[in-house]
Symmetry: D2
């Protein structure tokens, strides 16, 4: 009878259903590269520590490198006969080089092996996602640089609030993406430690050198406690949370793009490359991309919640439940990377309708706060009193069917005799935008300053 | 230039990234059967209403039936050239029968088509999952019937509380599964209405008969408002929630099986068919199945949360976000079905260690409440006073290193002179179990009554 | 030393922190009414079964009714000296009537007591929420009746798609709310069973009559298995899910109201009663109500996820974890009820801007699908061919800076000589809306039919 | 008619329901201290920048400090007449000092005010939670130091796997808590930036100094972009996620404590201070504390999911939805702090049953892996072959009803003649534990090394 690797004492055939429930190869084959790299590093260490012979190591290394090439190129297809990617590669290596293959697993368990593979995957994707975020930031900054004087109605509650410029709005997203970037990098730094050599849960009696394998694999150092290392999935939860937050940011921008693309707003127009039609309505151009970015927030949240649930109340150390950690992470990582690439392309190619944006600024009495501030500064009115007076002026403007920026000096004087002629300048929309000149504010000067700050930060993280 | 179906006005090539983000064929091909069945019903109606000719209908029907066979048997592989399953099948049908294929989409939009396909899938899986729950219930009832006198320490807070029998414990799960069954059936009944013919969002000017297609496809009736019908995903949320609750129940049983399988408890032993080993520890037999059942609760919760998130704040009617509805449902449905099948097999084949269970009943003073009840009934003591007296007796038994069920009449009399000899019977564990003879209680008599109630319910739902 | 109720054997003072973590009175006092009603029913049964005397029952009943009045009126404040509401009421009753109070807890445990109280709360709130949904439906129907001919651009992807009427759009929500109503009622029917008398986990040796207490409390029947009954929280999960889905529907309408209230859309105007201002921008009127409805979806989802998480993998029967079931349910119930009342008021008082809605219908070539359908019907063109031709016509209209509904017969004829003069009628927006006359469609006739269906359903559920 | 602050133009009374839905005072009064401190810093800056007079500033400062004292001491009760804490304090200050109070809001909006208050709260609680984690770590280290030679069956899949020591197990949690600590600190550092002075969304025309208020309030610097600053809730999501992960760790330890406290395991005993009883079963002592720690994981997850949901797809900048950010954060913060304090006390006072732990190590063939390693090292057997041989030996031991650590040299020799006498030493449990002497492993030596590493880290973060 054929014996199962990893079941030394179990002599009857496993239930077919158990196999179906249990087998992880269909998804964990994603880790073939990490598994091979990990095994090479482990074997090298075994040889350097005198645990296996040089010959064995060289055979293993050669065999694994061949396998890496054969799987990458599609020469070998990982079929479903094996329980998981680790067993599949051990089997393939044994076919290739015989007994030496059986020595790779010395001083190692599937528990630390899978922890290592998965951590390698997550660490490199932290860096890759951070890199893609940087690319998106560059696109936003590029667009911002062209729009530091483009007026846009700044909104709160989706109601026109104060005039801002379009660059300023884009920079709000740059600020979000900067935090996203920092989160992925911070998570990388906090978790880039090697669990390899932790074995099943308690370490190993073999005279291994975990420092060596850690360095070999690009980890900072080996982890401190092996029991923790085989059951820790914090690094996976962190990337899931960081992706959830990133997708939340994307969903906010997506929502705005969708609203801006309506015929009512008309602030922007997506490239035809990024629009799709309807199977029944021949006139439609639909903003599918931002809708998908927004919709995919759901799966990012769901994957986070799934792993949090799975990890709840698990006793130490390894439990099979933990096998559920991978599919969600793969899915979130893939979603994040694709979403960032799509977002960049969309931003690079969308058309901005300056005229529509600026026209919209003349609706909604956007300079009302300026008027209140004017009253405080020039007439030394307490803010709350000014605030109520402006409320009355706005009501009057509405009766006249005008925006307050269109009120004449005469009309204003009628409402309060203390107004001086300079009040008209204060009500001008562009002046209003440029008046908000405090640090972090929307004036063109301040916006250029912000662009400089972000550019400087970019050049620092790239150096 | 090749034109996109569903993009009548878009004349430049779609972005490669958009396609990657957008294409749903890799997962929605799961719906090929529902799509074909739906199209046959629709075409039949179009013909009966005089909208297409009989010849066209017959060609369409024949072509679609052939396609169904070819895809089912693997003769045709759905490759990734198409945007989604609906476009793939329209293209294949056109290759097969030419122009007639182009008439299938008359009076239909992708919006109602996908809503129909997906609803057919969810409805039939509601029934299939309900059927599998019924099978699990039968297995639990079978096991229960063999254990109506098998003592088990009933626990609260994982501490021994009162003696029960094993059947009684199993019946608690039967009660849960009964509610699960009822939820799937209730959801089926509430949602088994046909959106077909709702077109894009507003109905169609063609003289269609939605009643006819509804009946043809096994729906109760057509839905009432088409705008709702193309954007409604309540039926999907319901199956996700019902599966989440089902998996929660499974996770509770799984947790108990894992604890019962420890060497400390030893109450049950899983079949070797359902155990796996360790890659490094040759002595291990691990309860992988219950661990996976417990772990997979995570994905069931995550899929629910994902779709809830996606649906939040979507304006009517169809938005591309909704495309995110399927993968999670497919995954939860597959998980639920496989989990139920595995659970049934595990329960059918696990060994129950009666002796260990009964021995454990002699630890923890399980008959303490009986003693308090005795004092209330026989000495007319207020419950709270009896309760405190028993507390003292338990403390005394612990000093004697005995379980209270092992105290002699003499020892008891020393503590309170009012005890009569019949108190010894009251402290007997089996008597204690049988004493709880109220409706729904654990006495063997009441447990048999419960089995009868569940058997009767089963025969009613099967008739 | 003062002894703790519910801790017969624990002789040292509890940790202050444990008390803080453990005490549930600050939130479970919400259940005082249910607790008192439950205890009266239980005592009545104890008396009828001869377990307590008539005198004791009458004293208990009188004392509890007084307490009910004193707590309701605020005469007694439930302070924080007690561990939970059940202990608080037992203590107050003991102060009032002495020893008889101690007999109430005969044949009952806190486990079945809390299960009963909480279930009573959830059941009555299922009915109350259902009632409020019905009120909301009536408001939507009233508004709909006034707008069966009010044109509105029907949207998909937030892009104008086809002309519909405003009533039709409102009826989509009526269809959602109808399902919501059915879910709450279905959950009520599935779970309205009495756990009272289940005691700690195994039933009781006292000759109780669970049927009697069930009827007394308005339950259908007693539950079947007591072990399940004390650990079952399915009814709580169901109300949390049903509220989550309800809030999701509300968030969709809220999103639309927010978008419709922008100065760009201007389709509706909220009553000043439902708008708030800004502390700094005197001109603002903000749609706080729909924003809060949308934002509160978060807590409804969160409360669901919280209880699902808490219940995961809990062994039977009662565990202290379950105490976490209440706050989330109280919060979701309160949120749902308040949200429904607010929504009703908002809908009743909002102004609909017919003109803006109808004008908007002339943007976006809303009758494009009609034109395609015309080609299919009148020229026997396959749908896909018609679809492409219309795509070209739309492109042409855009060149002319016109909506296709504004194209003249001559302009159309130029594009395809087969057009007849009746094509102009087909392109008319109102005709287009009324043309969608299939069952469930948007034509005024069909919309009136839908209103009738919903009205009939309402009168059925109210009879 | 009384005018609403923050509603300059709204002249009819707000709906009672809107007020109920909208008013945040019942929960945001938690922020009174942050609000007052923020307003003092803002006023000081206004004075230093010449925007208000010294007299006004001094009056404001004095008035606010008095209010702080009066609210803290309970002299003033914040009642429900005000919309939120910010308006309440502005009103109280106006009562106290008149017109000067109205000048505090110059160059500030509720948007940046609430963002500042909330951020101050979250930042200081990041530090406070980090401090409490450090205290828990110290308790775990103290306990660990007493148990570096206490044997414990190391488990995987809740099955005995390899012998470890109890200190090693505790250190796994120290490793988790160290990461938790680092996450709270990292989040603090990433988010400790001041939004004050960002005003409504665009900055202010007043010549403010945001640097000054930032320093005054303990922030690192002002934030870069004001539009982002008023809508950013990343800092809130981060603390919710970090608490969710922390509670997940606590739930794992809680689960183990619950299992270890069963009469079957009996590894530990909680102090009576931390146990509670049953209202009906006088003999019970229940581990309520770990059950509540485990159960409260639910609310931590729920609060995270709630805010993620609320933030999804919100357009910039402030929307009323965001008001939903606070209750969940307050609840999670309170839960985390109380849970950590309770955990520390529980660990400090629980009894460890060394004998039970060590006895348990003789069940389950814990030295099986040692035997396999022995075969690899001494007989140069490939690992897989050794693995299968040990599987056979374990089966043989079971036939003899022995643990393999109890097999004699003779019995072993019978199974494989190559065994030498030293194999007996290898099978000894304590030797087996100490044999796992690789870095991070369970040997007493390595465990002491780990304690040193953690102690060193502690002294570094405290210096």
């Amino acid at each position: 009878m054929k014996r199962n690797i990893a079941s030394a004492r179990i002599n009857i055939e496993s239930s077919k259903l158990l196999k179906e429930l249990n087998d992880s190869l269909p998804f964990d084959k994603e880790l073939y590269k990490e598994d091979i790299i990990g095994s090479i590093a482990h074997s090298k260490m075994l040889y350097k520590q005198g645990i296996i012979t040089k010959e064995d190591f060289l055979a293993i290394q050669k065999g694994l490198n061949e396998l890496l090439e054969e799987i990458s190129s599609g020469k070998i297809e990982l079929n479903e006969g094996d329980e998981d990617i680790h067993m599949a590669i051990e089997r393939l290596l044994t076919q290739k080089i015989g007994d030496a293959a059986k020595r790779v697993h010395t001083a190692r368990s599937r528990n630390d092996q899978v922890a290592t593979d998965f951590r390698l995957y997550v660490m490199s994707n932290n860096l890759e996602i951070a890199r893609l975020i940087k690319e998106v930031i560059k696109s936003f900054l590029n667009l911002a640089k062209r729009h530091t004087t483009t007026l846009l109605p700044g909104m709160t509650h989706l109601q026109h609030a104060q005039p801002i410029n379009f660059a300023y709005h884009l920079l709000a997203y740059v600020a979000m993406f900067k935090r996203d970037y920092e989160r992925f990098i911070s998570s990388y730094q906090r978790n880039n430690y090697s669990p390899l050599g932790c074995a099943a849960l308690a370490g190993t009696p073999h005279p291994i050198d975990r420092e060596l394998t850690a360095k070999e694999l690009g980890f900072e150092e080996p982890t401190i406690n092996c029991l923790d290392s085989v059951s820790d999935r914090d690094f996976a939860l962190e990337i899931l949370f960081n992706i959830a937050t990133l997708m939340m940011h994307l969903s906010r921008f997506a929502e705005e793009v969708i609203i801006w693309s309506t015929s009512e707003f008309g602030f922007i127009k997506l490239s035809d490359k990024h629009a799709t039609g309807s199977s029944i309505m021949p006139q439609k151009k639909n903003p599918d991309i931002p809708e998908l970015l927004r919709g995919k927030t759901g799966r990012a949240y769901g994957n986070l919640m799934a792993l949090l649930t799975t990890m709840k109340a698990l006793p130490l150390a390894y439990n099979k439940d933990t096998q559920e950690d991978k599919e969600g992470v793969f899915d979130s990582v893939k979603t994040a990377k694709l979403s960032l690439m799509v977002l960049k392309e969309m931003v690079d190619e969308m058309e901005v309708n300056r005229e529509k944006m600026e026209q919209a600024c003349k609706v909604g009495h956007l300079s009302a706060t300026d008027l209140a501030d004017y009253l405080v500064r020039n007439l030394n009115m307490p803010f709350r009193d000014a605030y109520y007076l402006v409320g009355d002026i706005v009501n009057r403007a509405e009766e006249l069917n005008k925006d307050i920026s269109e009120l004449s000096f005469e009309e204003l004087k009628e409402l309060d005799s203390r107004f001086k002629e300079d009040v008209v300048e204060v009500l001008n929309i562009r002046n209003s935008m440029n008046a908000r000149d405090s640090f972090g504010g929307t004036s063109t000067k301040r916006v250029k300053e912000q662009i400089e700050i972000f550019d400087k930060w970019l050049s620092e993280i790239e150096s």
